[in-house]
Amino acid sequence: MKKSITLTVNGTAHTIEVEPRTLLVHAIREILNLTGTHVGCDTSSCGACTILIEGKSAKSCTVLAVQANGKSITTVEGLATAEGLHALQEGFHLNHALHCGFCTPGMMLRAVELLEKNPNPSEEEIRWGISGNLCRCTGYNNIVKAIQYASAKMEGRELPSTEPEFV
């Protein structure tokens, strides 16, 4: 039997009908047509489906849509504003922190919460902080740099170099 739920996604409230077994990631992608949130492993390992629920990063392939009833959700589509890209998006862009881009939305949403809780993380804290997000292209170095860039920008510190690093 379908249930009626209300999700506030990127500031807009949507009331939708879902089966209890509908996963949140499928409600977001297939009912709300916000396809920036990806399904990777589908087993809560890879983090490609990471979104924010009430500001907390969550793997939306492992949350039922009904569990999020009444909650406020942020997806990658909600990061940029009319003023421009989010500092993390800018950091990923300038630091070449993506190749195929599949993991990128989840990486950035995870990093939003990481920087919220720890605005100036060490490299070690960043690496541990994104330990639930897998990237199979970049080797993580540029992702770490992108998050360091965003941290500096959000904190008003001097911006680190964004020269590409060839290793």
């Binding site: 039997m1 249930k3 089966e19 209890p20 077994r21 509908t22 996963l23 589908d42 087993t43 809560s44 390992s45 983090g47 990471t50 907390k56 990063s57 969550a58 793997k59 492992t62 949350v63 039922l64 009904v66 569990q67 009833n69 995870r110 919460e113 990481l114 541990w128 902080g129 330990s131 639930g132 997000n133």
Partner: protein, 290 residues
Amino acid sequence: MIAEPFNYDAPSTLDEAFAMLEAHGDEAKILAGGHSLIPMMKLRFSSPTHLIDINRIPGLAYIKEEDGYLKIGAMTREVDLEDSDLIARKYHIFKDATHLIADPQVRNFGTIGGNLAHGDAANDHPAVMLALGAEVEISSKEGKRTVPIDEFFFGFYTTAVQPGEILTEIRIPAASGKYGSAYYKVERKAGDYAAAGVAAMVQLDGNGNCVKAGIGLTNVNPLPMRASRSEEALVGNQPTDDLIELAARYASEDCNPSEDLRGDEEYKRHLVKVITKRMLKLAIERAQNA
């Protein structure tokens, strides 16, 4: 992957939840953090016909010292243990363990009660609870009962929690005096189950003798395992390097690891020995500084 169809309810009180459990019997499952249950349902290893989501019941998440106990509400998230000042000051073992449990997103959801009620010897909290001598409060419409952790784990995915009951609180004898605890597991990668893990707790008297010792082992036995012979060797004695070595050897001899993709039996016994030694030393160091 999509689970088989089921009905879903999100009661707002425990009494409502008990009534739903009674109505649906063992066809019903309690949904806590869901990060073990939902993957199992997606893989169709588990197909309950009714999910009772207790996330909307207030008052089940807390960390406090009261009446000589550290009391942790069953719905306390791993992330709240990780971030708690009380835990960071006095119960280092939780900081150690939560840091290694799954990954940050999973810790935002996963609960300590769910971790125990899932009844999986590969989970980390069971060994921690054994080391700390915890007891578990189980509630039903008849009232509450308390089960010592040594009588809680029955078998694979089976615990003392019966149909109609909900695990509501974990109680741990409060840290006092020279008390120290530590946890570590060897994992192949972030988020993996332990190849082996060891939880240790010690309490020292004024002369540095060990008056209490608890050692729990993760994923090297069909059930979460207490290393009793190691504990007995320590209690009443000065924890010298030789004695720690002996306690570690006992733990490695007494566990029953099975060979899997994380390693063979010999390797896992070796891990148990090395980690037991290190965690005892760390717990003793923390006790001395307490």
